[in-house]
Amino acid sequence: MARREAPEVNAGSMADIAFLLLIFFLVTTTIETDSGISRKLPPWQPEEQDPPVIKERNIFQVLVNSNNQLLVEDEEMEIEELRQAAVEFIDNGGGTGDEACDFCQGPGDANSSVNPQKAIISLVNNRGTEYGTYIAVQNELVAAYNQLRDREAQRLFGTSFTAMEAKYNDSRTSEGAKETLKERIELIKDMIPQKLSEAEPTS
């Protein structure tokens, strides 16, 4: 039997297929963006200043030692419990008269904060604390604030605070919608301000 020459493969449509793939990847690729916990540092003050007088009951003290152990309000605590403890402290609402908190759902303990505007969380860490632990603590404290803000946003506006913030930062949201969102976000932030004070680490 005579050998036949193999027929040439038509490569004309090859380019189309390749371009199809290329365009698919172009559309679906997103360049990875970093994400993290945003914080604002206090401005540098060279001279020693007298610290403002704050009532003991309005301070929630979190100490982290060099073995990554937590001491919260003079009691040892596991990191898993920190979020709940912080929520209870901020949401206590023990104030009366001018300091009363009209939306708090806490028990109104006489030894805990008067209202969220006054409540301050003080975080002191040791120079030997691991950064991972520090971030975990920061994360839990931010989570406590977000939990309360979500609750209030849910009550007032029917959506969560984190969802509102995400929508505000989304470039697809229209300017008009951003305006209302900004107002609402500011309102919630005023109701429950993030007051997180960090002292110089102990050595």
């Binding site: 945003s38 540092l41 991972g132 520090y134």
Partner: protein
């Protein structure tokens, strides 16, 4: 007798180039998949901690990066195992942070300077002493907006 002889002898047939695009595209896809864009070559170990209450860092041109951690294994011979700061492509001391911030600011347009954020990419095993030293320097340089860059995940994983 010449039954098995080739019928034609017009030189060698042309090599088919139809599969050439395949080869090229295979290469293209390989590189597309493995490419990670990064501005700096890392000289420190950089295993970021986990957190889930995170915000996205958009607008990459407004971010200054400060890395810190133990030097990578191949630099441990010369620089030891103590955690260090990396600015751009060099190891730096704490005192150089301010200078770094100022020089970064000079490359940006003036009206954008208030929006500059400093991203701290710190290895999770670093001690807080170094991190607070960096923070003090940033306060002195008035670079107050910072972001602790993390990976997304449960923060409790950091404790193990």
């Amino acid at each position: 007798m010449s039954k098995f002889k080739k019928k034609k002898s017009e030189g060698q047939p042309a090599i088919s180039t139809a599969s050439l695009p395949d080869i090229v595209f295979m290469l293209l896809f390989f590189f597309m998949v493995v490419t990670v864009m990064r501005q700096n070559t890392l000289m420190v170990q950089n295993k970021l901690p986990y957190a889930d209450q995170v915000e996205k860092l958009d607008k990459k041109d407004l971010v200054m990066y400060i890395y810190a951690g133990k030097p990578s294994p191949r630099y441990q011979q010369t620089f030891g195992k103590e955690a260090r700061i990396q600015l751009n492509d060099k190891f730096a001391s704490v005192g150089e942070v301010q200078q770094f911030i100022f020089s970064e600011r000079e490359t940006k347009r003036e009206e954008l300077i208030p929006y500059l954020t400093t991203a701290l990419k710190v290895d999770e095993e670093t001690n807080m002493g170094l991190v607070s030293d960096i923070k003090q320097e940033l306060r002195k340089a008035e670079a107050l907006k910072i972001n602790y860059t993390t990976k997304e995940g449960d923060a409790l994983q950091n404790m193990q």
